[in-house]
């Protein structure tokens, strides 16, 4: 921490103000968040998200019959859309975070500071997650409107926040890894988008996943499908919160592996030239 002595910076033996260490990522996260929200990208994505959620909620509210179970299904479906689209935009923002800066010529300036690569990616990860939390906050009134009268609003919001945050952390970290390793921003965004389609599409197939052990394994290893299955089990099927915990393993593994991998590999992969020095 820098202190002032007689109005001057108290320089250490090196003659320079020292890095704040853990505070570095906070400075990066703060500026990245401001960039995201003040540049108009964040508000635009949030607006698009709220339009999509409004349309879906309207359809869910007008099409459901007035019975207890279908109201729960409507809440669950809306929550699933909120989580899926929320983590999608989070993934896309993080996929742009390093490769985009490279192309805009702003990454070199950041790499020339004494802030560690780890602090840089951590700051960017947190900034990307602000978008997830914003989409979650936007989805709260929709869930509340659809869930009135069946006492599942609190459960739905807790599930959305828990499962969604787990998925958002994992996918945002994955997006940053892809961004650091991709040769161009377009490639990074395309890979991230197709990755999300690959994990989200199976759960939307007519009739769902194949039945039997293969379908079960497929469902459990897919972090998005697995996480959403868990929320459906609790909200719609009335299962206890601890009964289907195995469905949270893959979202947790994704968050730990992608997040941990990102932090461990950051010093090697966050480079001016994509994928290291060639």
């Amino acid at each position: 921490m820098t202190t002032l002595v007689n109005g001057e910076i108290d320089k250490t033996a090196t003659g320079r103000p020292q890095s704040r260490g853990q505070g570095d990522w906070a400075a990066v996260a703060g500026q990245e968040s401001r960039d995201l929200w003040l540049s108009g990208r964040g508000p635009l994505l949030l607006f698009a998200f709220s339009v999509l959620l409004s349309v879906f909620t309207y359809l869910a509210a007008t099409n459901r019959a007035i019975n207890f179970l279908e109201q729960r299904e409507a809440v669950d479906q809306t929550l699933q859309i909120a989580v899926a689209v929320g983590v999608l935009v989070t993934l896309l923002v993080s996929a742009d975070a390093i490769s985009g800066e490279r192309e805009r010529g702003t990454l070199e300036g950041l790499l020339l500071t004494p802030v560690s690569r780890r602090a840089i990616v951590l700051g960017k990860l947190i900034a990307a997650l602000t978008l997830w939390f914003a989409t979650f906050v936007v989805s709260i009134p929709y869930i509340w409107v659809l869930g009135r009268g069946v006492s599942i609003v609190r459960s739905a919001l807790l599930l959305g926040l828990g499962v969604g945050t787990l998925l958002a952390v994992g996918l945002a970290a994955l997006g940053l890894l892809i961004s650091a390793l991709s040769g161009s921003n377009k490639v990074s965004l395309a890979i991230s988008f197709f990755l999300l389609l690959a994990v989200f599409a199976p759960s939307q197939l007519p009739g769902g996943l194949p039945k039997g052990w293969f379908g079960d394994v497929l469902g459990k290893i897919n972090p998005v499908g697995s996480g959403l299955h868990y929320s459906t089990a609790v909200l719609v099927n009335g299962h206890g919160w601890t009964r289907d915990l195995e469905y949270l393993i893959s979202p947790l593994v994704l968050a730990v592996l992608a997040g941990g991998g990102l932090l461990i590999l950051s010093e090697r992969i966050v480079r001016l030239n994509p994928g290291g020095e060639r």
Partner: protein, 319 residues
């Protein structure tokens, strides 16, 4: 501050099979402005990226203000850099941008704000401090980039093509800033440029790179006297003495004569080898030829640069 602020020893960088920087060795002192010259692809930007720890050397080592290259984080605290193609977030203001970078160098919010204000004033940007960077001209962005390079009060400042694309007034202002950095702050400035007049104007020493190697280093005077040779001259004699002059010149070895345009009294002389033009003038005077004018070319940094690199992309010196 250490006696030698920058020292590079056999610095080498290869990308696959291509060697971008090949055994570069040099030193620089505080308050020195060192010009880094060379054709495109000579290794200037790679050398700067190595010395600023953005790239890791394949072999060799360097130190900045006594800090060895094995401590890149510590080196980054001691260098300031204006990268070749620096980008600026369009929506940030000049003040926000500098404050953010000062924060990244470990300063408190209040100190960062104070440093940003001071640097904006020094670079003449205080009136636009609160304007988004998207509204800045290229010259203003370059000056902001130099200000950014100064937030940590560096020992060594690397400026990669700081005047590229600027109008003459902008170039002049940037060069004034460069001089101030060295003179007032006592920092070493490494100035990479293609504009040789800038180098002649502000640099104490010059390093000319070619294919990743240091071809020559020294002061402008040392390089021009060692490398450049007067190989061209324009001679004007009275019309009645053109024949006599041609006869004298024909007797000298390695000389080629051509009439200059439509004026038969003006002869353009080129000479191979390193003998220079003094023997030519001596021979003319000895033969009693009236010399109305004798202009020698090939004694400037530009000529030395061309002699070393054969690069024709550099900016012609303006007379």
């Amino acid at each position: 501050m250490a006696e030698t602020s920058l020292e590079a020893r056999r610095l080498t960088k290869t990308f696959g099979t291509r060697t971008a920087v090949d055994g570069v060795t040099f030193t620089a002192e505080p308050r020195e402005i060192v010009g880094l010259l060379g054709p495109n692809g000579a290794g200037k930007t790679t050398t700067i990226r190595l010395l600023t720890t953005v790239l890791t050397p394949t072999s060799g080592e360097f130190s900045v203000a006594g800090v060895p290259s094995s401590r890149p984080n510590e080196i980054r605290r001691r260098v300031g850099v204006l990268p070749e193609s620096a980008g600026y977030p369009a929506h940030q203001t000049g003040r926000e941008h500098l404050t953010y970078f000062a924060r990244l160098f470990g300063m408190s919010r209040s100190e960062s704000s104070r440093v940003a204000t001071r640097l904006l004033e020094q670079m003449g940007l205080q009136d636009r401090a609160s304007s988004p960077l998207s509204t800045y001209s290229r010259g203003m962005r370059q000056r902001l980039g130099i200000a950014r390079a100064m937030v940590n009060d560096p020992d060594v400042v690397f400026l990669d093509e700081p005047t590229l694309g600027l109008d003459p007034a902008g170039q002049r202002q940037v060069l004034r800033n460069v001089r101030d950095i060295a003179a007032d702050r006592g920092a070493t400035v490494i100035l990479s440029t293609h504009t040789l007049t800038e180098v002649e104007e502000v640099c104490n020493r010059v390093l000319i790179l070619g294919e990743g190697r240091v071809l020559v280093s020294g002061t402008v005077a040392e390089i021009t006297s060692a490398v450049a040779a007067p190989r061209f001259a324009t001679l004007r004699v009275p019309g009645s003495e053109v024949g006599a002059a041609r006869q004298v010149l024909a007797g000298l070895q390695g000389l080629t004569i051509a009439a200059s345009g439509e004026r038969p009294d003006v002869l353009r002389i080129s000479r191979s080898g390193r003998d220079g033009m003094n023997p030519v003038l001596r021979a003319l005077l000895a033969a009693d030829v009236t010399v109305l004018s004798f202009e020698v070319e090939g004694t400037r940094l530009h000529d030395a640069y061309l002699a070393l690199t054969g690069d024709a992309t550099v900016e012609e010196p303006s007379e």
